[in-house]
Structure formats: structure tokens, C-alpha cells
Amino acid sequence: MLQVEKLTKTYPSEDGQQTVLRNVSLALAAGESLALTGESGSGKSTLLTLVAGLDQPDQGAIRFQNHDLTQMDDAGRADLRRGEIGVIFQQFNLIPSLDVAANIAFHARLAERADAAWCAALATRLGLEAHLARYPEQLSGGQQQRVAIARTLAARPKLVLADEPTGNLDEDSSDTVLDLLMSGVRETGAALLMVTHSLRQADKLDRRLHLSHGQVSG
């Protein structure tokens, strides 16, 4: 379903061009989950944003279903993201000007796949039903991430990309949130690509890929 082939990405930095990814390849089947691990600066978050189509690699190909993201324009990648890909970041996932209910339904409505019952079910499952009328800034970090997960699952994407989704949470709520994400992904049949620095969390996923200095190792 997802094939990443020989991705290379450099960013301009103060010391000239800095290569963040070098010839990285990976593959993910439908319904499969893959953990991306590696130390800070290993390029794992960059890989995720490239797969999300938020940015373009310098070399290599990203094939998702029958599209090559690297051959698509900005609008095409945005369409793909709107319809098929859900992204959960470590923070700032939510739209500050919308309340929780609207945030949960937002992506699904953009993808024209809104289903009120499903949204309500997700809110209940994620323990958000008491907070539906609140605004993101009135929620705790854990609650915000639950809203982000609910929003992603509500849109029923084929691929969920998560970048340290629990990185700002303490260990207990971190586990709870991850479990909720995993079960939700499993239930919708989506594939999951998750960046994490926690080996314990990585072990919960089907496979693990370790990045070091922009290259796949081990």
C-alpha cells in the first residue's frame, strides 16, 4: 500500500546543506503498523512529513496506493491528505477557533465522509463526551491528543501518520492514548506509521524501523 524508495532530503542550514534523510526505503501493507524509532535528529519526523505529502523529497519516490506523491502537485497531495491520510502531531493538532465537537468532525467533513454517529461513538470511546463544547485551549494535553486521534479516526483514512503523539504526556496517559489510537486504527483497518523514541511503545506495533543519522539501521 505504501512504498518509500530511496528517499533523500536535505535542508539548508547555517553550515550549508544538511542531509536529513539518505536513501531511506520502507514499505507498509494495508492494516499494518510500523514504528519509526531513532534518536533526536535522526530524520524520523522528516520522513513522516514527506510521507504525509507536506513536503517534497529531493530524490526518491513515495508510492501510496497507486499515486506517486513525488510526482503530484501541492493541490493533488492536499487532496490525497484530505481524503486518505490522517496526521497526528505531538502538539498543535487542533483548530483553536473550533470547539471539540467541531474539531472531531472537521477532517471527516473536509473528506466529505462525515458520520455523526461514528463521531459520537469515537468521542465516547475516547472519553470526550463531556468536553464537546469546549475549546482546545481549555483542555489538558492528553485531552487534546485524544481529540486529535478522534478527529483522524472520524475521517476513516487509509493511512494514519503519527509523530510522537504522546510525546508531551506523562507515562500513564501516554499508554492510554496510544492504546486508544491502536485500537481505533485496527478497527478502521488503517495502516499506521508512528514516530516514537520509546522502544516500549514501538514494541506495541507490528514492525519497527530504526533510523540513525538519516539512514535505516538494524
Binding site: R82, V87, F92, N93, P96, L98, F106
Partner: protein
């Protein structure tokens, strides 16, 4: 320490150049419009004074012939009798189609007070008296053909006037006699009285006061009001920029204070920084103001020339006092705009956290509080409108109304957007409206500026247009006769009446006396009963059968100024001179600052006071106007004592179009300042807004699409602001027409509405908003993805 701290403080501006530019530009523009308007006013007033004094007629007595001109022999006889008199030739010459007034003087006998040209330069006097030399304003000089003597340009003359030596004037005007003699203010001892020496000459007193300056007051008041509003609008930008710069530097303040910098030192450094910025922006602003004034002055000059007959030079002279006052207003503006930030900094605990986002996002509660204050101010203005009096109150009322409206604007926008979202059905429109609502506090100052600019446009525009409609209609009524003729004394009046007998359809004598009217100096006119008055006179209120009763000596008509001042209604008694009259009616009398009354001619004669004015209104067929004018001038009546109604009306109409040019230009400039406020606010917010936009982008909206939505948001906000600006502007117009004008000039103009103007302005506001949002939107559309991705990785 101080130096290090200061350089740390100002390093902020290097990192935020847009903030610096918006601060400087806002202040510079505010100063520019204000000082530009001041420059125009000052130039016009200087022109009035010059016109009043070009030949010393404002302070010197003069001798004029009862008829015809003064011969050279008579002039020499008067000189040889010891009177210090200076001869003046005065006539019109044709300059390639346009007419100019040519005045010939004798530089040797001209009293210093009336010396209109400077002949102190090398060879000037010789060239003037011997070779022939013309002095003229640059505008007039440009029209003088090369066949005439050489021209010297001078800014001290009003346009349309040429001064030359008598020898040259005598050739050009083909005359050897004089229009008048100017008398030196000091004369020798033991002189033979002029009444014996020259009984056929009239001694005319210096022209008192400056009628033109008085008449044009309302025009300049409008300009000043515009200048003040523009300045206020500019200050919104400055206030916003200073506020943000202080908020963003709070961590720095905290650090500096932690390092041992005293609070007083910090405040001094910040004040110094503001002072320096104000000086830079002020200098820039005054220079810009000069350009604004120079660009607008020709139209202003044309307006004033046509409307009031005031000769104002179209060129601007620089005045150091004006530069300094421009700088001072910039400093004052900065002080006003920065006071709040400085005060807050002074009262801030060392460890209070920085909240630039909180600065931009105010709670609904604070919006409500603000709106409550605004509503209070509006209520206060309503109370003032109902019970207050005086010009100052009028301006306070205006201030309360505008500030009050501005303060309620954010809540209004919030509520309106909330209401609109009820009708939204897509995620995108939900989000767009919700996000627009969230942007309101951050943009509120800029939007308030836009509100003020638009309200001012509507208000002043409505006032000017109402004035035009009323004034032209009034002219038609008031100037029902074709010619207006002024005789200079009783004998001349009798002669004119005899001369005109049978030449015109109606000869309406109008006499007036200067008298105390209800304790203030004014004029009482005497008229005869005629159909002309019955059909045309602009009565605002009258008792039944007013004209018959006036003719029968039953009472008097009073002008609106007097009626308003004394609270007179038809039927009330009024004291004119020493006698009491019944007010039979009230008539409109625009442009006259004094009280005035009309009684029947018989009653005026019976009062026994010396008649000061011997005027006639002549009704005659339009086709005979030239013929009768010639008849009168041939009989020796100076051309300026004959006024042609058609010419006056044509002038007025032309003038109002010119007036609109100026008003229009100022409208555009004010709107431009507001658009700039919007632009700088949007630019400032654009960086802070990334966390709001990034999630939507991650969910599949392109940056281009987001940018288009940003543009749309600005337009929505502008449109909503325009909606509230309309009633505010109309209220402003009402205050100007019904309160400020009445207090300032004593007459009230009916308000006329011009909806087509509103549509134009509405569109202009939307375009202004779109233009100011275009750049930030474009920046968003072309922003590197990495900038947006960073949002998710960065700490707040």
C-alpha cells in the same frame, strides 16, 4: 549598562522590521495628513491676509471718485496741497483670453503699508519706472504673453493680479487717470481739509475685518476635521505597533530587570526609543505632508477662489513654525499611543510572563467590557446632543460618538460572525467564520481605524454634499434678480435710479443700516414690496400673510442665525436698534456670520439712522444684462459694484465640483491610512497565526487555498465594518450639520442622503481590505512547508 540595555532593546526592531516600518509609516502618515491640512489652511489664511493687504486697503484710507476717474491734474493738486496720497491705476487686461487685474502704482509715493512689490534689488526701481516691469504670481506670470514688458514672479501677490509702474500701466490700460488715491496713514500738520480741496472725491475707510477669512471658516473647519481624523486613524497603527513591540519584549524586560536594571531606567530607555522613533517618523511625516499639501493646494485654491472669491496661491511656501508643529504633533501622537504601553510596563511585576498571543486574542469578556464603555460613550453623545450647547460640546460629542462606535465594533463583529456561522454548512465555512471571529481582537484596532475612516468619509461627504444641494438651491432663491448694484452714496443712488428708470423690469432698492440687533452689531435691511420676494425669498418659517404684513410695517424678518441665537420664532418680539418688532418670518442666510433683519424700506427710512448701503436688485431679461451693465459702467459705477447673478451661480456650481476633488482626495488618503493599518496588523498577525492554519493545512488544504481564505476573511471583516460605519457616518453628518455648523456659523443645513456615494465607498473599503490582505496572503501562499511543519515541533 544603559548602553548595553538600550542596544538590547532596539535589537528587537532589527528582528521585526515590519513592525518598525508599520510604526514609522503609521506615525509618518498620521503626521503627514495632519500637517498637510495645516499647511493648506495656513497657506489659504496667509493668502486672505495678503489679499486684504495687497494695497494696504485693510489699514489705509483712500479717495475714490464719485464717478469716473481721478485726473492727473487733480492728483498733483492734492499733492501740492500737502496731502500724502499715492495714485493707483486699476483695470483689466486680456492675457490670451483670460483676464487679469492690472494695478499701476507709483513706487515713490506708495505708503510702506501698501507697497505690494519689493524693489530693493539691483536695478529693480530703475527697471520698474523706466523700462517697464510686471510683477505677478507665478500662475499669472505664466499667462502673460511675451509682447508685454518683462515679468518678475513673486509669491507675495495673489494670482490674477499684475502690479506695475504707472508709466507701464498707463500704456497698457490706455489711461492717464487714476481709479483711486491711497492716503498715507500719517499726514502733515496744518493741511487744508480734503472736503474743501476735492469735494468730488469720496473718502473711503479701510476695509475692516477679513470677510473672506470669516466666510471660509467652515471650509477650513472641514479640512481640519479631516486632518484630525486621519491623525487619529494613524495613531491606531502606532498604538498597535507599540503595544505589540512592548508585549513581545516582555521577556527581555524581565531579563534586564533581573540583571539589575532599574525600572525607572528601563522606562527612560523605552521613552527615549519612542522619542527617537517619533522624531524620525515626524520628519518623514512633515515632508510627506508637504507633498500632500502641495498636491492638494491647487484644487483647494480653485475651490476657495470660486466659492468665496478668495485668491489663494496654488503654490506652497515653507514655514519653519509649520515644520516644528508637525514634529510636535508626531511627538504628541507617539506619547498618546505609547502611554498605555509604558504605563503597563511600569506596573508590571518582574516575573509576569510574555503573552504575545494573549495580546492578540482577547476574551469575549473583555470585548463585552469594551463594548459597554463604547455604548456608554455613545449614550453620552446622545445626551450631549440633546442637552449640550456650544462648539466645544459639539466636538466632544463627535469624539464620544466616534470613539464609542469604535469600541463597540469588535463585539459587533463577534456577534455578527457568530450569527453568520448559524447559516454555515460546510466544515470550511465553519472554520473560516470561526477563525475570522478569532482574528477580530487582533485586528480590532485596524478595523476601528477603518471604521473611523469610513464614518468620516460618509459624515463629511454627506455634509459637503448636503451643503452643495442646499446652497445651490438657496442661491437660486436668494439671487432671484439678474443684477445687483451698489451705489456709493445717496446722490449716486438717486442718479442710478433715474438712469435705470424704464431700462429694467423691476428696480428693487435695498438699503441697510448698521444697528444693534438684540444687543449685538448687525444689519437691518429695508426692502420694498415686490413679487420677486414673495416668490423667491428663502423663508424657513413664517406667519401667514407675511409679505403683506411686512409691507404694512407690521414686523420684521430675521435671518436664521439671529433666530437661533436668540431663540426667536415667528410671532416673538425682537429688538432692532431701539424699536421692537414682531418676527414675521425667518429666512436662511448661509455664509453670513452676523445677525440680520429685514423691515420695509419706509420703516428703515423712518428710523433716522444714516443709511450705509444703497443697493439695488435689478430684474431684467437675461439678454439685457450686458447692455445694462455697460450703461452702469459708462455712468461711472465701478465694475465691482455690479454683480451678475448668473456668473455667481455658475461659479458656485463649478466650485463645488472642485470642492469634491479635495474632499475626495482626502477621503482616499484617510482610507489609505486605514488600509495601511489593516495591512500592518495582518502582517504582524500572519506569523502568529501559523498554529491556527497549520492543522488545517495538514488535513489537506493547500497554502494557496488558505491564502484565498485569508483574503476573504479580510473582506468579510471590512464589509461588516462598513455596515456599522454607515450609521456612524450618518450620525456624524447629523452632528456636523445640526450641531457643529449651527454652533460655529449659526445656520443649520438640512441633511440630504446620497446612497450611491455609500455604495462607492463600500466598494472602496472592500478593495482597500483586499489590497491590505493581499501581501500577507501571498506570503502565506508561498511560505516554505518547513515553516508550517515547524509549528508542530516548536514550543510555543
Amino acid at each position: 549598562m544603559k548602553r548595553a540595555a538600550f542596544s538590547a532593546l532596539i535589537s528587537h526592531w532589527r528582528k521585526h522590521p515590519i513592525q518598525l516600518v508599520s510604526l514609522l509609516l503609521g506615525l509618518a502618515l498620521a503626521t503627514a495628513l495632519w500637517s498637510g491640512v495645516q499647511a493648506i489652511n495656513a497657506e489659504a489664511r496667509a493668502s486672505y491676509d495678503r489679499a486684504a493687504g495687497v494695497l494696504g486697503q485693510d489699514e489705509l484710507q483712500r479717495l475714490e471718485p464719485r464717478a469716473g476717474t481721478i485726473s492727473l491734474a487733480q492728483y498733483v493738486a492734492i499733492r501740492r496741497a500737502g496731502w500724502l496720497a499715492s495714485p493707483v491705476m486699476d483695470g483689466a487686461i486680456n492675457l490670451n483670453g483670460t483676464r487679469a487685474r492690472l494695478i499701476g502704482i507709483d513706487p515713490l509715493s506708495t505708503p510702506p503699508q501698501s507697497s505690494p512689490v519689493d524693489l530693493s534689488g539691483d536695478g529693480d526701481l530703475q527697471a520698474f519706472v523706466l523700462d517697464g516691469l510686471l510683477f505677478a504670481h507665478p500662475e499669472t506670470a505664466a499667462q502673460i504673453p511675451a509682447t508685454l514688458p518683462p515679468v518678475r514672479v513673486t509669491d507675495t501677490l495673489t494670482p490674477g493680479l499684475i502690479i506695475t509702474d504707472l508709466s507701464t500701466a498707463s500704456d497698457l490700460l490706455q489711461t492717464d487717470s487714476f481709479a483711486r488715491l491711497i492716503l498715507a496713514p500719517q499726514q502733515s500738520v496744518n493741511l487744508r481739509p480734503l472736503s474743501e480741496l476735492a469735494p468730488d472725491l469720496l473718502l473711503i475707510a479701510p476695509e475692516e475685518g477679513n470677510d473672506i477669512a470669516r466666510l471660509t471658516d467652515s471650509f477650513h473647519l472641514n479640512l481640519t476635521a479631516f486632518g484630525l481624523l486621519s491623525f487619529g486613524v494613524g495613531l491606531f497603527i502606532v498604538h498597535a505597533a507599540i503595544g505589540l513591540a512592548f508585549e513581545q519584549r516582555r521577556p527581555l524586560f524581565r531579563t534586564l530587570r533581573a540583571l539589575g536594571l532599574r525600572k525607572s531606567t528601563l522606562l527612560t530607555l523605552l521613552a527615549t526609543e519612542l522619542f527617537a522613533l517619533a522624531v524620525i517618523a515626524g520628519t518623514l511625516g512633515v515632508a510627506l505632508g508637504y507633498l500632500v499639501a502641495a498636491a492638494l493646494l491647487p484644487d483647494v485654491a480653485a475651490t476657495l477662489r470660486g466659492l468665496y472669491g478668495a485668491q489663494v496661491s496654488g503654490a506652497l511656501t515653507l514655514n519653519p513654525a509649520w515644520w516644528l508643529s508637525g514634529l510636535a504633533i508626531a511627538l504628541l501622537g507617539t506619547a498618546v499611543a505609547g502611554a498605555q504601553s509604558l504605563w503597563r510596563t511600569a506596573n508590571l511585576p518582574i516575573l509576569a510572563p510574555a503573552q504575545p498571543r494573549a495580546w492578540a486574542i482577547a476574551s469575549l469578556k473583555s470585548l463585552k467590557r469594551q463594548a459597554l464603555v463604547g455604548a456608554g460613550l455613545i449614550a453620552l453623545s446622545a445626551v450631549l446632543a440633546g442637552y449640550g450647547s456650544g462648539l466645544t460640546t459639539g466636538f466632544v460629542l463627535l469624539g464620544c460618538l466616534l470613539v464609542g462606535a469604535a469600541l463597540t465594533l469588535p463585539l459587533f463583529l463577534h456577534v455578527a460572525l457568530n450569527f453568520a456561522s448559524k447559516f454555515s454548512h460546510t466544515a470550511l465555512s465553519d472554520w473560516t467564520l470561526a477563525d475570522t471571529r478569532q482574528q477580530v481582537p487582533g485586528l480590532s484596532l485596524a478595523l476601528m481605524a477603518l471604521l473611523l475612516a469610513m464614518a468620516a468619509n460618509i459624515g463629511v461627504g454627506t455634509m459637503v454634499s448636503s451643503f452643495r444641494v442646499t446652497f445651490t438651491g438657496w442661491l437660486d432663491q436668494r439671487l432671484a434678480a439678474q443684477l445687483y448694484v451698489t451705489a456709493r452714496d445717496q446722490a449716486e443712488a438717486t442718479d442710478l435710479a433715474r438712469l435705470l428708470d424704464g431700462e429694467v423690469d423691476a428696480l428693487l432698492p435695498i438699503r441697510y443700516i448698521e444697528a444693534q440687533i438684540e444687543g449685538a452689531p448687525g444689519q437691518i435691511y429695508g426692502i420694498i414690496d415686490d413679487i420677486t420676494y414673495r416668490e423667491n425669498w428663502p423663508l424657513l418659517a413664517a406667519q401667514p400673510d407675511v409679505w403683506n404684513r411686512l409691507a404694512a410695517g407690521d414686523g420684521a424678518l430675521v435671518n436664521e442665525q439671529l433666530a437661533l441665537r436668540e431663540g426667536l420664532d415667528p410671532g416673538d418680539p425682537v429688538t432692532l436698534g431701539t424699536a421692537q418688532f414682531t418676527v414675521l418670518g425667518v429666512y436662511s442666510d448661509y455664509g453670513n456670520p452676523r445677525g440680520e433683519a429685514i423691515v420695509s424700506l419706509d420703516q428703515l427710512g423712518a428710523k433716522g439712522a444714516p443709511i450705509q448701503g444703497f443697493n439695488f436688485a435689478l430684474r431684467l431679461p437675461e439678454t439685457r444684462v450686458d447692455e445694462v451693465t455697460n450703461l452702469l459702467t459708462t455712468a461711472g459705477l465701478p465694475a465691482r459694484n455690479i454683480r451678475d447673478q448668473a456668473a455667481i451661480k455658475a461659479f458656485s456650481l463649478d466650485v463645488f465640483e472642485r470642492t469634491f476633488t479635495v474632499t475626495g482626495a482626502l477621503n482616499v488618503l484617510t482610507l489609505g491610512v486605514a488600509a495601511l493599518a489593516l495591512l500592518t496588523s495582518l502582517l504582524t498577525l500572519s506569523t502568529m497565526r501559523l498554529p491556527q492554519l497549520a492543522p488545517v493545512w495538514a488535513m489537506g488544504l493547500t497554502r494557496a487555498k488558505l491564502a484565498r481564505l485569508e483574503l476573504l476573511r479580510a473582506i468579510i471583516l471590512a464589509a461588516l465594518t462598513a455596515l456599522i460605519a454607515l450609521p456612524v457616518g450618518l450620525a456624524l453628518a447629523w452632528v456636523l450639520l445640526a450641531i457643529v455648523n449651527v454652533e460655529a456659523f449659526g445656520w443649520r443645513l438640512p441633511m440630504t442622503l446620497f446612497p450611491s456615494d455609500w455604495i462607492g465607498l463600500f466598494i472602496a473599503a472592500l478593495i482597500a481590505a483586499a489590497l491590505s490582505a493581499a501581501w500577507p496572503a501571498r506570503r502565506l501562499a508561498t511560505r516554505p512547508a518547513a515553516d508550517l511543519i515547524k509549528v508542530f515541533a516548536h514550543e510555543r
